[in-house]
Symmetry: C2
Subunit: 340 residues, 2 copies
DNA sequence: TTGTAGGCGTTATCAA
DNA sequence: TTGATAACGCCTACAA
């Protein structure tokens, strides 16, 4: 509403708009006297440059686009937190969009981001995204793009991820060292980078310890929450039944926990549980669930830093364009103050 | 990147930009022939109007600003979800900003939203916000503004909230009907609307059932997570000790649960727990915790609808400008499949 | 039915 | 040191 513009200032001080503009930006070719005058008046009138006009002129916006599968997810909301923190003190704003795990909507979001002239894009792939042509073409046009968490290895852009392989390895090894021998693994959509990385870590740990990789112990579920009961039941019906389950997400882990309890299985006496996690609540509840915690916020920060670097120094190309941030194995024994 | 503009189309078809502009918007004063020509070409070249230019021209943006204390919070991320859903199919985009529970940053966010020419603002107050002059002045300028969840009653703008009073009443009554007599209440920052509403509901339920309102059973904590242990310990040291705790948030409830377990108190045999909640995880874990669940997503949806209404029909003023959405009491017995 | 001109707020170029 | 002018992409009187 009736925001004051450069024009207003110029009129009020009997100057031209160009002089005012220059004065405000501290150009050296303006007399100190005029400068002071303009500055003071601008200050007094609470002048704020119109970023929309600036965007139109400069074709950039000081805005970073962020596209995530969903906001209502602890991992992503924390990542966004990290992104925002960095963006904020580097003078950028953040425009957040959701793909809702849907390829079409991811496309639309990318379009919108472009059309709104974001200076760069931070993106975590929707679970339905297999075709990455839309991102490839961005990259071909040298548009600043950074992927995080769910990435596409085929795309030669900076990627920031949790060290899923290492985390899964640690989780599995933890179970093995606790004496478990038949460790089931429940993952999510197979074609996602995180799924594959975690599966690989699981497999490598088995190999290292001379345990067989048994296909029948591997399951994958979609994002629908209650496919989990039948899967757990199925696994339990094997003989010998698994003595541990390593799940690729906290939701799955919690789902397993509920299922196991329903089936009257003791955790961890009969079946031990380890889950990748995004949820800090697990801490509070201290259930007999060991988790691999992902540095969500740090991932967001790194990604934002990397993107801003790319925006501000387009030529600069680091040696490695994939950064893996360490996960943390947090062990919670059932005895540890938690559920009695 | 070389986006195509009206000018390009005009040049290519040997028309003036105004003709192209009119053709694209389907103006009736353009020959069908020309229209078709322009449309087809635009289609083929994937012309997209530049929203920034449009914003500059029209002084509006088809963007709704959303300011929440934090995104990394289940309640708010779900609310945003609801907002986005409505905005999306009404042709609006959403610009999300965080106040980080900080008054100054709330101010900045509001400024930014204005300066970016959002068409309206959805806001949930930061916990540090007591002075609402910045919002009052917006409203005075007839700027479309809707508050949700954490509102300021002094502000005569539409407000969408959970029925905190009713929910707290139900929670307390539930405890009373379960035979509890000394029900403690732990709330958050006293000056927040939600705190007061919940306290009032608690108090009313006590009154209805002829129980005394005992100041010594009331506690308030900030948002720092681990102020909770001493408070619980304090409450327990009373004699007689409380036989139930009603907390104003799920974090507090979970914190209490942990604290109680540490002190070796049986839940709910010795102390029953009820918490207001934002967390769906509670479901999965099925702890002996009864919750008052808030319709976060619906609150977001209603708020967005209300805001769009206000934007598109500025004169329209509904009779009641505060909408309370019902909460849901979800009872989880300790025996119910949960923690053994 | 179509074109010309001006303006939204800002900056860059060129001239004075 | 300052000012006039044009341009970013679009829309809309007003003219033709």
């Amino acid at each position: 509403m009736e925001a004051i513009t450069i024009k207003d200032i110029a009129r009020a001080l009997n100057l031209s708009t160009s002089t005012v503009s220059r004065a405000l930006r501290g150009s050296y070719e303006i007399s100190p006297e005029t400068k002071r005058l303009v500055m003071e008046y601008a200050e007094r009138m609470e002048y704020r440059p119109n970023p929309i006009a600036l965007s139109l002129k400069a074709n950039r916006s000081k805005v970073l686009g962020v596209i995530v599968p969903q906001i209502a997810n602890h991992f992503f909301s924390q990542a966004i937190n990290g992104i925002e923190a960095i963006a904020y003190n580097r003078g950028y704003h953040v425009m957040i969009m959701q793909s809702h795990e849907n390829y079409e909507r991811e496309l639309i979001a990318v379009q919108q981001a472009l059309v709104r002239k974001v200076d760069g894009l931070l993106l975590s792939l929707s679970s339905q995204t297999t075709d990455i042509a839309h991102l490839q073409s961005l990259h071909d046009k040298k548009f600043p793009l950074v992927l995080f968490d769910r990435v596409a290895s085929a795309l030669d852009v900076p990627k920031i991820i949790a060290d899923n392989y290492e985390g899964a390895f640690a989780a599995t090894e933890h179970l093995i060292q606790a004496g478990r021998r038949r460790i089931a693994h429940i993952g999510i959509a197979t074609y996602m980078s995180i799924t594959q990385e975690r599966l690989a870590g699981y497999r490598a740990a088995l190999e290292k310890h001379g345990l067989p990789f048994d296909e029948t112990l591997i399951r994958h579920v979609g994002l629908g929450q209650h496919e989990i009961d039948p899967i757990v039941s199925e696994l339990l019906s094997q003989s010998p039944a698994p003595d541990a389950i390593f799940t690729a997400s906290d939701r799955l882990a919690l789902g397993c926990m509920t299922a196991l309890r329903q089936f009257g299985v003791q955790i961890p006496e009969q079946v031990a549980l380890v889950g990748f996690t995004n949820l800090t609540v697990a801490h509070l509840l201290a259930p007999p669930l060991t988790t691999i915690e992902q540095p969500a916020q740090e991932i967001g920060q790194m990604a934002a830093e990397r993107l801003i670097l790319q925006i501000e120094r387009p030529q600069h190309k680091p040696i490695s364009d994939i950064q893996k941030l360490p996960t943390k194995l947090v062990v919670r024994e059932s005895t540890a103050g938690g559920m009695k």
